[in-house]
């Protein structure tokens, strides 16, 4: 009797994780559902104004979503430490993958809608315009992180090397924030909010580590 672990709490624990994972998936895919509704169903389910420029909406939403997911992954470690909420770590790789998913939708909406997949004009744009260059670099750097996000890759690489590679998320965060800041005509509040959030998160990590 004493040797056997009581089975009930265990499955309860698992249930909790499953439920949380479903919730994270639903919340993470919601931006896509809202976009589809607003653009193709005239906001029948989610409301909102008439969409004058669907591509602009797609690009703004996917870009913002990618940045928010990136900031969320960065927030997990400090939250876990400060709140002793170790379970949060289970969602870090998933949230990182969603950041990559939205970054890819963002980049491909630019490739397809703005550049009609013509490599020449894409290359020209990336080289000539700093704000596009930093955004493109950020996406390229996210690719190895997304590819190595599976448990198999962690095992294959070894925790130390894997961790070192995934430190790339810091420069990526800086590049993404620069991409947003340099894109606007005048200094606007929205990119500044994300830039300062990133700074706060960097500060927290440094403080938590000490």
């Amino acid at each position: 009797m004493a040797n056997t672990l009581p089975p009930v709490p265990r499955s309860k624990k698992k249930d909790w994780v499953v439920a949380a994972k479903i919730a994270v998936w639903l919340v993470s895919l919601a931006p896509i559902a809202i976009l589809v509704d607003r653009i193709f169903l005239s906001g029948q389910y989610t409301g909102g104004d008439f969409v004058d420029d669907p591509v602009e909406l797609i690009q703004h939403w996917t870009g913002t979503a990618s940045l928010i997911f990136l900031l969320t992954t960065l927030a997990i470690t400090p939250v876990r430490r400060l709140a002793s909420f170790n379970k949060a770590n289970r969602f870090r790789r998933l949230l990182g993958l969603f950041s990559f998913l939205y970054a890819s939708l963002h980049v491909f909406s630019y490739f397809i809608f703005d550049q009609r997949m013509q490599l020449g004009p894409i290359a020209e744009d990336v080289i000539e315009r700093n704000w596009i260059l930093v955004g493109f670099l950020a996406w390229l750097l996210l690719i190895p992180l997304a590819v190595t996000s599976t448990t198999g890759w962690i095992r294959r690489m070894g925790g130390k090397r894997w961790n070192r590679l995934h430190k790339l998320i810091y420069p990526i965060g800086v590049l993404v924030v620069l991409h947003f800041l340099w894109q606007t005509k005048l200094l606007e509040t929205e990119p500044l909010v994300y830039a300062s959030t990133l700074l706060v998160l960097f500060g927290l990590r440094w403080w938590v580590r000490k």
Binding site: D49, V55, F113, D114
Partner: protein, 308 residues
């Protein structure tokens, strides 16, 4: 032309029409919006039942009313695209007067009604290209600027004409923010102003011009980027020398005096080779002079790369 008799836009445009983008486009191209459109070739002037001259310069679908009046750059009411529609709602345009001075036979103030009295308001379906890279097709209603200028009587020395937008922070809350040096001033060379395509606009979609589009009177120069067309004009001044204009003062490296639509001269931060027609997914090629090649002689011998 009396401004008071027009019904409010929302009474005229059934909301259902805009419920579905595709359905709207189909209806528009089949029936012609409001029955006012006649299919004609480029620059074909046709007459409709209402005896109103119509000039249709493109066969492209019209941009829906909701977008024309809901997606605006009018920093006097805020820098967001939907700010003008939101904050210009109670903008009062009656009475309205326009001061005319400078190189003109008689410098004086004109009331709006007096200024447009006796002219036939025409419909002009023009492409409208913003320097930011988006475009629309808009059925403007207005009077050729040429006719107005003849009424105002500039002197032989008038080489340029300058248009000033209202400056009143109580009526235009966006002016409380120093995003631009107010008031907004735009100008044209006199031959550009006298070109038959240049239109002083008083309406759109056969309705009184909504405040967010520059009520009661604004300029449209279809071969130039949209910012050249001053809105809510309160002053017209004829000058000998080239006037200072707002955007070219604010960011001279990005915005010039001419601002002719030109796919070959890029904006420093983006290419001008293509544009997105609002509502469409794929960008299309931008046309030289926005497709209005007939204005090319105005710029003969000029380096358009320097005179951007």
């Amino acid at each position: 032309m009396s401004q008071g008799n027009h019904p409010h836009p929302s009474e005229v445009t059934p909301e259902k029409l805009f419920m579905n983008r595709r359905a709207f486009m189909t209806k528009a191209s089949v029936a012609g919006i409001g029955g006012a459109l006649t299919v004609g070739g480029v620059l074909a002037a046709t007459r409709t039942g209402s005896d109103k001259p119509v000039m249709r310069t493109t066969d492209d679908d019209l941009t829906p009313w909701e977008t024309v009046t809901g997606y605006n750059n009018f920093y006097e009411f805020g820098t967001g695209k939907d700010d003008p529609a939101r904050y210009a709602k109670n903008f009062v345009t009656e009475p309205w007067s326009i001061k005319v001075d400078g190189e003109v036979e008689e410098a004086r103030s004109w009331s709006f009604d007096e200024l447009v009295d006796g002219f036939t308001v025409e419909e002009r379906i023009y492409r409208h290209r913003c320097v930011e890279g988006w475009s629309m097709v808009v059925p403007w209603n207005g009077i050729p600027l040429k006719d107005l200028i003849e009424r105002l009587g500039p002197t032989q020395d008038a080489k340029y004409v300058e248009f000033t937008t209202l400056y009143d922070t109580r009526k235009m809350p966006g002016q409380m923010s120093p995003v631009l040096p107010w008031p907004y001033v735009e100008a044209l060379r006199i031959d550009e102003a006298m070109h038959p395509l240049t239109l002083m606009v008083t309406g759109v979609y056969d309705k009184k011009l909504p405040p967010q589009n520059g009520a009661p009177i604004r300029l449209i120069i279809p071969w130039k980027y949209g910012f050249k067309g001053g809105k809510s004009i309160v002053k017209i001044r004829f000058t000998k020398n080239k006037p200072r204009t707002t955007w070219s003062e604010a960011i001279p490296s990005e915005y010039g005096f001419y601002a002719n639509v030109n796919p070959e001269v890029d904006h420093p931060r983006w290419s001008q080779a293509t544009e997105r027609r609002l509502g469409e997914f794929f960008r299309r090629d931008t046309l030289m002079f926005n497709g209005y090649d007939e204005v090319a002689p105005l710029y003969e011998g000029m380096d358009l790369r320097k005179n951007y």
